[in-house]
């Protein structure tokens, strides 16, 4: 029922920061995720890949954090791509129409390349 957050730098065609999330993102844990993502953006990182491969659960507060991050980086012409392989979590992005605003990829490599 907890979340682990880890941030890595990635040197690719377009350098970016990769945020690894591991656990469950809900009303209790999403403030931690928000802090990490907003902190990253506020320190000048506007190209983000958020890896949800190890996220077993996400709720609307978690989606809100991702949307908030996307809005913030766009103010700086940045981008956010997601890595998501869990069908249950993909379904939530489908239902809410968020598939249309996030780039969602099956692998980290694809998410980085298409940033």
């Amino acid at each position: 029922m907890d979340i682990k957050v880890n941030v890595r730098d990635h040197d690719g065609q377009r350098p970016c920061s990769i945020v690894d999330l591991n656990g469950e993102i809900d009303v209790y844990t999403s403030p931690k995720v928000k802090e990490a993502i907003m902190g990253l953006i506020d320190s000048g990182h506007y190209a983000l890949v958020i890896n949800l491969e190890n996220v077993r659960y996400i709720d609307s507060t978690g989606l809100g954090v991702l949307i908030g991050g996307l809005k913030r980086v766009r103010e700086h012409s940045g981008a956010v791509n997601l890595v998501c392989t869990n069908p249950q979590i993909k379904k939530i992005f489908d239902i809410t129409g968020l598939v249309k605003i996030f780039g969602i990829y099956e692998s980290e490599a694809a998410a980085c390349e298409n940033l």
Partner: protein, 145 residues
Amino acid sequence: MREPLTLEPTLSDDGLVELRIPSRAEWVGVARLAIAGIASRLQFSIEDIEDLKLAVAEACTNCIQHASESDSIAISCRIQADKLVVTVEDSGQAANHASLAPKQLGEPKVGGLGVFLIRSLMDDVEYELNPGSGTRLTMTKFLRT
């Protein structure tokens, strides 16, 4: 290698499981675990179990974030032969009807997805607003066989 034995469920219907948690973010995970246990006992599919977890958690999250002055959340699960009926109830300031109505999603914004998800994931959703005595959400998921 003999025939493997598997467990046949021996559920009778109309059981009632009740849970009360403090109206605080750290306890929503416990509600999620309990509902997952109930739903898996009833042989809901993995997808339906996830739907139930999310719907119940969204309901609890709304109690925590919007029902001011409510100190606890009451969750009841009525087990029937073909469905699970879950109520989530707080005792805070009641919601208003407009904010709970079914709606289409517009531009993505940071809030406003909770009620939409509940309505999308459950088969039947009903809100009762009791001025001064909180919001009561009753939601049903049918067992697909």
